[in-house]
């Protein structure tokens, strides 16, 4: 079966910025808002999600010709749930502190729409190489998005980067609100607005040149 749709390279690039799962598709909002109060939890969450994305894409792509249309969502969910459980146990065994810090948000990767949407849009229709590229592209896009929010919140809220103090308490009065839930909404809203604004400017320029 010939691949139709974007090539592996296009899939990879699309995932990072043009179709960024967070800034362009607004998917996976729960971890975006919940675990971005520090760079470490954000990085761990991004890593776990990328792992699940790539693995689910690989399996779905391999069995794509065997899928029955009305049972496909069930198969996707089963596959995703398995890899999420593996990721959850891995964190509990090797990174217990992060596992505690992320708490229920690791098992909640199961309901992260980014993953099931990639199974539906890409890996259930395209070959293995393209699906792997898609998984890494989207995973990287998700990582960039989480880190961009987390860096703002951690620097302003705790004056540190990856837990290392950047500015002392005297130099920078901690904006406590930034590590609390409202900080997530404020930061994400402003960054999303900025992303839209730059996108609009670029489209205007492209129109002007045409």
């Amino acid at each position: 079966m010939a691949d139709s749709g974007p090539t592996a390279g296009e899939r990879f690039i699309n995932g990072i910025l043009p179709e960024n799962p967070v800034y362009r598709q607004l998917l996976g909002m729960c971890p975006v808002l919940a675990v971005t109060n520090g760079l470490m939890p954000a990085m761990t969450m991004a890593g776990a999600t990328t792992f699940v994305l790539v693995c689910a894409n690989v399996i779905t792509s391999l069995i794509r010709n065997l899928l029955k249309p009305h049972l496909r969502i069930l198969v996707f969910t089963l596959t995703i749930a398995t890899f999420v459980t593996v990721a959850d146990r891995f964190l509990a065994a090797f990174m217990p502190e992060m596992s505690d810090a992320l708490g229920p948000y690791v098992p909640l990767i199961i309901v992260n729409c980014i993953i099931i949407s990639r199974c539906e849009i890409c890996s259930s229709k395209q070959g293995l190489g393209t699906s792997i590229a898609d998984g890494f592209g989207m995973g990287l896009g998700f990582t960039v998005a989480l880190l961009s929010i987390a860096v703002v919140r951690e620097v302003l809220g705790s004056g540190s980067v990856f837990g290392y103090e950047l500015m002392s308490e005297g130099m920078w009065p901690r904006w406590g609100v930034m590590v609390l839930p409202p900080g997530a909404f404020l930061t994400f809203g402003l960054l999303l607005g900025a992303a839209e604004w730059f996108g609009m400017k670029r489209r205007e320029r492209a129109l002007g040149e045409a």
Partner: protein, 204 residues
């Protein structure tokens, strides 16, 4: 069998799901076997970190005693002593069903099981923002320090008035009740066996 008949049959439709479920189940079992020891060690370290908070900073775990509870199951009970070596508390590890998933917690009681000295949740997956406040000392766990262990704890929605009452976390009555149920069961299950084992040690 014709292609049409095959696709109409139950197995023809579901074979992939069934095979995948079996494969995934086996994979998860392997993960569990491979990593469960490590996860258990991590939990144990966490318990040792928590015990001073539950009992007092001078507390030392002097013994991990295997005690058979009333339900016939063996469990580890931590015997905690002060720096001079005299018994100041027992720490029980208990678990049970919460609102979302299993809740695991530590509860420490005085040597005679008359008062609860403290409670600390080790693992829970309750609803973020509501049920997960059961881990918060200000909102919930602080109430357990010094409460009676002679009467089963009950959860109330208003301010607690009786010595065995615990005020529920707002919006998470089921999670709060799960915690008190787990504690009541653990104390009931281990009170007599632990006291009995202590008497036996003293006489020998």
């Amino acid at each position: 069998m014709t292609e049409e008949a095959k696709s109409g049959s139950y197995l023809g439709q579901a074979w992939l799901v069934i095979i995948l479920a079996i494969l995934y189940g086996a994979a998860l079992a392997a993960v569990q076997i491979g990593w469960s020891d490590r996860i258990e060690t991590n939990k144990r370290n966490k318990i040792y970190d928590r015990i001073p908070n539950l009992v007092g900073s001078e507390a030392i775990v002097v013994e991990e005693r295997l005690v058979t509870g009333k339900d016939g199951r063996e469990k580890t009970v931590y015997r905690v002593a002060d720096t001079e070596g005299s018994l100041i508390a027992w720490v029980l590890r208990a678990e049970g069903q919460g609102f979302a998933d299993n809740i695991e917690l530590l509860v420490s009681v005085d040597p005679l099981f008359t008062t609860i000295k403290g409670m600390s949740v080790i693992s829970q997956k309750e609803t973020p923002g509501l049920g997960d406040h059961i881990t918060s000392p200000e909102r919930f766990t602080g109430q357990f320090a010094g409460i009676t262990a002679l009467k089963p704890l009950t959860v109330v929605k208003e301010t607690a008035s009786a010595p065995h009452e615990i005020q529920a976390v707002t919006g998470a009555t089921i999670s709060s009740e799960s915690v008190t149920t787990i504690i009541n069961r653990a104390i009931d299950n281990f009170k007599q066996p632990v006291l009995q084992s202590e008497r036996e040690r003293e006489t020998t």
